[in-house]
């Protein structure tokens, strides 16, 4: 950076600092990262094997049944057609691999996000700290997360999960906080008047009442997770993203579109299914 006087402000070595920090972490905490890595890999393998073990038609039948029970006939028909198409296009295995990554990443993200969201709802101070962090996490371009994942967990699915968890967590935190803060004050007052403790208020009142909102957050987390899992093909994650990636490298747009359509089908099914949980449960009348 130089101006007319020839005076130069040296570039701030932000990138170098971050690298030094990452180096420090990877060398000193490698045993921990290796542990996490092993654990996550096992989880991925078990779930993947289980889903692969089922014959295609059986899984389609199961999902369709679920769709029918939760959302009605339209989604059930959609599920038969969509999953059937994926099977027909020979994209079944990559689809299962992607699904596995999404499920595991979402589970981890939710387990971390919901408690954080609760904390942010109950403590104004924590709220003030975490909200800017969430803004930062959400505006950072998605694939930047892929880079630091590699030194920690190497190329492959574990890095993909790590990056996906970080990327997809914010909505679950935000919506949990929002849901709890939305609980009407007069209900809190009523619970207080009867001598409810903080945790009684949380478990008997705030969490049940915020459940639809929390579920809406989890729905968004799942959607973000899916998009990230696809991008994570760049660091060697298996699945539909990898099919797209291969198609790009071989310049075969047709293959790329097929894989893309499979992603869309998976996304729609996951979205519609989880949306049914976030709708307000109407009391039976």
């Amino acid at each position: 950076m130089s101006d007319a006087t020839g005076f130069t402000i040296p570039k701030i070595e932000l990138g170098d600092w971050i690298e030094t920090g990452l180096d420090y972490l990877t060398t000193n905490y490698s045993s921990i990262t290796r542990g996490i890595s092993k654990f996550t890999e096992t989880g991925i393998d078990v779930l993947n094997d289980a889903l692969m073990w089922l014959p295609e038609w059986a899984l389609i039948a199961l999902v369709t049944l679920l769709c029918w029970r939760l959302a009605g006939t339209r989604l059930a028909i959609g599920s038969v057609l969509g999953l059937g198409l994926i099977w027909n296009l020979d994209l079944w295995d990559p689809m299962i691999e992607s699904l596995t990554l999404v499920v595991i990443a979402t589970l981890v993200a939710v387990v971390i996000a919901v408690p954080l969201g609760i904390l942010a709802a109950l403590s104004d101070r924590f709220y003030k700290v975490i909200m800017p962090v969430l803004d930062f996490m959400q505006t950072m371009p998605a694939f930047v997360y892929l880079i630091p994942a590699i030194p920690f967990f190497g190329i492959g699915s574990v890095s993909a999960i790590f990056a996906t968890v970080i990327f997809s967590m914010p909505p679950a935190i935000r919506f949990t906080t929002l849901g709890i803060r939305q609980v009407p004050n007069d209900l809190i007052e009523a619970a207080d008047a009867f001598g409810a403790t903080r945790s009684q208020k949380l478990f008997k009142l705030q969490l049940p009442l915020s459940l639809p909102t929390v579920m809406a957050g989890i729905n968004q987390t799942i959607m973000l997770a899916l998009s990230m899992v696809v991008i994570a093909a760049m660091i060697g994650a298996d699945g539909l993203g990898n099919e797209v990636w291969k198609a790009i490298q071989r310049l075969r747009p047709g293959d790329g579109f097929e894989a893309g359509i499979a992603v869309v089908i998976l996304a729609m099914l996951l979205d519609r299914l989880t949306q049914t949980f976030s709708k307000e449960k109407k009391p039976r009348s």
């Binding site: 007069d186 007052e189 619970a191 207080d192 008047a193 001598g195 403790t197």
Partner: protein, 402 residues
Amino acid sequence: MTDTRDVKIRVRNLSKVFGNQPDKALKLRDEGMKRPEILEKTGQTLGLSNVDFDVMEGELLVIMGLSGSGKSTLIRCLNRLIEPTEGEILIDGDDVAKLDDKSLLRCRRKHFSMVFQNFALFPHRTVQQNAEFGLEVRGEEKEVCYQRGRDALKQVGLDGWEDAYPSQLSGGMQQRVGLARALANDSTVLLMDEAFSALDPLIRKDMQQELLALQHKMKKTTIFITHDLDEALSIGDRIILLKDGEIVQIGSPESILTSPANDYVARFVEGVDMSRILTARSAMTDVRATARDDDGPRTALRKMGDNGLDSLFVVRRDRTVLGIITAEDTERAVRENLTDLSSIIHSDCCQVSPEEPLHNLFAMFAGHHHPLAVVDEQSRLLGVVIKGSVLAELAEAGEAHA
């Protein structure tokens, strides 16, 4: 007569300042400034100022005042939903204002239950689960919660609705759930903040009558807030009048009517001379049930129970009045296996003609809660007059007149 009862809650010097400089506001208050000036000078709202009163065991105390007079603040200071700025709140000798968090929880669970103007029912819980809330929070056994919740719902006439959700009920029914939730945990004090104000007038009258019946039966210490003089007069044993966070008058409904201390009441009372042309007939209500002279104590007791009454007039076949029996005496008679009512009838009960001026009825109510019998020339029962309806009638007449 209230003085012979024990004091349940003793409130002394209770003040509340909304704002961040309470000391400054209180200092100005001590220098004689009133709420509006203090607000202007310091930006602090003097919610309550030096409030002193006692609540007697088993009484129904009404706190009345215009909007903004500090009624809600006062009742919320009692169980510390609002932190008082200074003062003492002694309940059974313990100062609520000084309790630490743990003791405060215990105190709320034992002593206070509350009914809210906007019901504040938990929408995700069934009616039954709402009724159980206080017990559940206190850690009672499942069966105890269930049983007492059910009993409370029955008391407010909601049996059969246990599995409904609040959103499926009408306003009046929702507030019954609110009442059941408060009754179920059998706290020693019932706090009701404009509990009936959101209900339409007919339902409201019903609920008032039911509250009175429940209160006479259970003798639960109740603090009831309203901004409605009518309501205050018809249900209160005593009334506290608040204005700008200060008490302007404490007294029985009669004394509020006869020697009003604030303009708002005075305006009503101007019309009370109307009582000379109002008669017992105007305040009379239908007889819900009577005992026959050949009924046994068990039958009589059942009739009281079925109709939510704590006394019955005993009449002959031709409806001439023999006297009145009380629930207490009748229960005793049942226990002692008496077969007829003759020994427990109070034949000195008050009988009035329908033409009796209303203001003459006050004296007849002194010292008891029993209704008066309105009778024709042959001493046949025409209707009953209860204390509350005399006052309500007077107040209404006052309103119409003013």
